[in-house]
Assembly symmetry: C2
């Protein structure tokens, strides 16, 4: 058993659990299998996570945090709100590819789980993303580039629905031409803009 | 054991399998459990479906057929292509609610399955829907209401991605204001239209 400090061990266990959930599904993966694959005993795993559900919650929280901090960094150097949304869209295929295992776990749980805690953490995930887009859109309204009478929730959810649909297809089924996602984003931006973008 | 004729028995087995797959997941549901819930023996089930996979393929085919025939009927009385798309969007919440179990099975498989036959039948499902929307959009182009230089694949996939995202959220997570889906559809229609709709 490799000796790791507590935070690293926790991180390693989340990584291993993400891979196993993605490969075999949440239901079929036991804490015994996760401990085994991580090279530790179950009691060691339980020091970090009392239940499998807690591991799932930690995975979703990690994806949320990573997504939002990636995006925050991405838009920091860009002042035009429309360009900020374009940048997120352009890097989205790479973003979901990098987090493919975690997104498999997320979407699998979304499509199949009835566990209230699991669904609560998923709701929080989308609420975070909704808030992120709403802030960009409101800034665009203040700057006078997006229509002021627009409810920012509308385009925020257009972006979220499109993103879920895109990820479901691309991660699981088939590639999609980059032009299709670009077309979708430009259409959403046109819908928001005062000036033709 | 209730005596049913072959086609009715087949239909009943698909109904029972859909409910069990939706409730317990595809992996966790055995043909034994399906036969038991349908009130037949496994050998009787095997007369209709050689494998569980075959049942899954039958479910997806049934959803595809039902979706397309519902939509075909819905748009038959409507000559304006934009109105045809609006009608489909307006009835979509009811449509997915009515087929909720089947969509749980579809999206669960899309998010978690690595089975090539399962994924092939899913690809075919989306190809059918893509074709359906492309025909509406091309008709709109011929009629001169949608922009002729537009590749119909673009808005067709916008509609599909939005539909998947909407269904994933609404079937599994939380309700969504009707205005949010309406807003998304109007935005897609504006993007296609020559005249302001």
């Amino acid at each position: 058993m490799r000796r790791l400090k507590a935070p690293q061990r926790r991180e390693q266990l989340i990584e291993v659990a993400t891979k196993l959930f993605a490969k075999y599904g949440y239901e079929a993966t036991t804490t015994f299998k996760i401990a085994e694959a991580a090279g530790v005993t179950e009691p060691i795993l339980y020091r970090h996570f009392e239940t499998k559900q807690e591991m799932f919650v930690a995975i979703v929280s990690a994806v949320s945090e990573q997504t939002l901090s990636n995006w925050q960094e991405l838009i920091a150097g860009e002042s035009d709100p429309a360009q900020q949304i374009r940048k997120i869209a352009e890097t989205f295929p790479g973003h979901i590819k990098q987090l493919a295992d975690a997104y498999h776990v997320l979407h699998g749980a979304l499509a199949t789980s009835r566990d209230k805690k699991v669904l609560a953490v998923m709701k929080e995930h989308y609420a975070q993303i909704e808030g992120f887009f709403i802030r960009i859109i409101q800034r665009g309204q203040e700057l006078g580039v997006f229509r002021p009478q627009l409810d920012p929730k509308g385009p925020a959810w257009q972006l979220i629905m499109t993103g879920i649909g895109y990820a479901m297809i691309v991660l699981n089924l088939q590639t999609m031409e980059q032009s299709l996602i670009k077309n979708a984003i430009e259409s959403i931006l046109r819908g928001m803009s005062i000036i033709k973008v």
